[in-house]
Symmetry: D3
Subunit: 198 residues, 6 copies
């Protein structure tokens, strides 16, 4: 029996609107399984659509100085601060895969100050956590600190928006009790063998 993945009813793929079903099948094709967040949020198709549009605008965006791995660092640090199990586990997996560093996600989730990251990435995560915890205290000095690390104002918007968006995600996941897929826990920790073997 499968464990419950949400407090709320979880629709079946076949019952979803076509656009969402396609998107989910695409993800499944790529990841090998359907991340639970898609199915759980599909309980509200209009919200899921907006969620994915926002997600894509922030994470698929080309340009800027934030690598894909760095964007995931922001997500993992934010999710750790918000104690969101789903997001720590799922985005921790993606971070490991992107950065090809199997230890990094656990380090950042527990305490980014001890993580194997650059001073620039440290400043990026310090800022992301300030956005998470006390955005009303953010001011010029914070922008100066980031600029001194080579970020421009567009990068700062990116950091802030990613942290803010996943703060939304963390809260919904916490409220609905979203359960991470078992697959995420191990992903990126060991060399991917199956695909390499013909």
């Amino acid at each position: 029996m499968n464990p419950v993945i949400s407090r709320y009813p979880v629709p079946e793929l076949k019952d979803l609107p076509a656009d969402l079903r396609e998107r989910i099948l695409e993800v499944q094709e790529k990841a090998g399984f359907v991340p639970n967040v898609f199915l759980a949020l599909a309980h509200r198709p209009a919200e899921l659509r907006a969620f994915l549009a926002y997600h894509d605008a922030l994470l698929l965006k080309e340009g800027g100085r934030l690598s894909k791995g760095e964007r995931e660092m922001i997500i993992v640090a934010t999710s750790g601060a918000n104690n969101c199990l789903y997001c720590v586990v799922a985005h921790g997996a993606i971070l490991r895969v992107y950065e090809k560093k199997p230890l990094l996600a656990d380090q950042i989730a527990v305490n980014h100050r001890k993580a194997d990251i650059t001073p620039r990435q440290r400043a990026m995560l310090d800022f992301a956590l300030k956005v998470t915890r006390s955005s009303h205290e953010i001011g010029d000095a914070d922008f100066e600190t980031l600029r001194a690390q080579g970020f421009d104002d567009e990068d700062i918007w990116d950091i802030a928006s990613i942290s803010a968006f996943f703060g939304l995600s963390n809260r919904i996941a916490n409220v609905i009790g979203l359960r991470p897929n078992d697959e995420f826990y191990l992903m990126g920790r060991v060399p991917r063998q199956k695909k390499e073997q013909p």
Copy 2:
């Protein structure tokens, strides 16, 4: 000279993609002015589009037990807890207009426990603030408390999502220094005279 409304460049209406320009003109038609959030977030069209889609999914949704005024109560309480000037002022105005109670927004922004609301609305806002501050501690007991006030699980999803979405909005507004339009401060505090006068 107009005051600065955002740390970031603010596009002119004419330079915006058609869909966003139309949406903004629609709002302007209805409100009599363009709320600054539209122009400031239009610096990132893709993100604004997703933002509006999410916003509409939560606030324009039909059905459920949350009135339009109650949804604004959640926004004002959340924004007060996050010290977001733009959202307290702008959604405070909308709340006054919807509820036709000129005192309510200030009460909820400062301390919803002292506001002229029903016990059911008090429970709704207690929960919204728990989503804001410690969503990881939410559990069955919170659901029971809300059900005892007549909310069903779909309503609870609504409360949580509205609070979570405006937590995102609060953080971005705080980081970019989004300035509320002067018009919002007074809106809903005095009878609307101009329109009634031919």
Copy 3:
């Protein structure tokens, strides 16, 4: 029917000791109504007398570098931090009247960092909130910061005492559930018309 303004019995003007009655009539003459704090605290005449004496020593004092408007800024910021509805609403009104800036009180109550104030006033409010939240950590560096903004030590005493006194006021108002007069909410937001009309 009038709404309840306090958990405690509220005396009638005619039953009050002469000195308090006179003071209250004076205020009524000036403001056009009796602020509820006078009536609610008159439940304890000796305490009200001391309260007013302290209030007057801090707010009616001549000299020093704090304008009357700046003293109200301190009160509004402190009361916002203490979530005191009465004091935010009533002193927000007085602040608007003194400074003739209809937006200022809402800005300071929600987040003084985003308010239309000078850097000197920003430093003043930063200090007032430190008095409110962690006075035991105040030390030489805080005095230096304020002196660098042109305040002398007497001004600093004033800021600290105003913040501390209204911290007292906030706590009592919160405990007795003191309700702001409806008149305060709108005061100072629109041009005063009635008096100008003969």
Copy 4:
């Protein structure tokens, strides 16, 4: 050389207004020394007068269910929570003297939950600390808890006002760096021998 008792100039007794000088001489007569709070606050005679009037209204009041010792318990617990050295030490001394229990003040200053007090006093101090820390969350349930311990609403006003007033006192003492008289530290810890010996 005497240690500095305040950041601010401390007036000499002879230079004070007659009413304050008399009051201070009275205290000196009774205590054997002048508590530093009188001299330090006398830097501002009008404020000191109001301070003493408020102090007397709360602590010299006859009637009610709060013994003099219990009022001092509230002061010590509040001052411990606010980390105010002067008030913990000075009122700790007075508490020991009133209650004739040499251990009680240290217990209450550090953790009233472990102090040798009655459940009624425990409830009184729980409430006083809630006034100190989160007065905006106080509501009917808090009143019920205290009533169940035999307090009436007038007693609750007393507890709240004493806690609130000494919160003011704590903040001013912390800002001016008010130093407790050395005499207070030992007072009430050992039997008073000198006076009894002719």
Copy 5:
């Protein structure tokens, strides 16, 4: 080159006192590597000896109702609350091994309320975190809650002591920047293959 495992000099095994060297070799034999905590703390042999004696008294103790896995749950939850990377990673590994549940440690480190544990274990961890965060507020009610879950007072002592001891461990690890061995991150997540292969 090996990464730095501590801010402080790390002794070589051969330079350690015999008792510590033996203990460490024993652990190495069992685990396949020397956990960094042993080498880093061996910088202070007397303290390490005491540390190990305390550790063994709590974790090797026979009897009581806490299984070895449950003791590790307490350590992981406490270390998560204290943001201690070493302890989360190292004891997370041990927890996975003991409980044979590869997902459990990550769940408990991020938010034990969402972990696959029993209500009894949930109560155990709630209490452990109260010991970590506000032990001064612990009282009879906490003991009652645990007794209702089948724990006796000796078990409660165990929970409290394990949480308190690893609070010590967390603080030292954080200060010296103790780095978890790479081996821990993966341990218990995949079936142990190597040893089974002859």
Copy 6:
């Protein structure tokens, strides 16, 4: 009748293992009474043994720049922050005796920023409290601050370990409700007369 000193059974001296009995008799010989912590923790002989070994390694250690009095300052400041009555009272007494300053312990327990200590000791206690409250945020800058005051890295280890160890002690004392011996409250406040009189 003696007051209860612990929630747990307290063994009699004669029933203790010989090594613990001897240690306790030694302390009794020196102090004139048996500090309750020995008897209360003797409920768990193995843990007490480890506790004493750790205690001795930190407090009896020769060398380093921390005087015995300074080590007690760290304990008192830490215990004040953790609201541990036993440790504030017992180690406050020892601090007074070591430093021969009867006022110092109360000052440090309430607010070390106002205590009669050197800037070097102030930095030491600032760091000890950071270890207590947010050890995960400790980094290079904290080490630099302490080095600038003349501490070397071994001293910093000492400060951290003493604070961490007494954080453990505070938590256990709080959970078991450990009661300070009455003798501690007065110790070091008045000249020791009895022993000098033959």
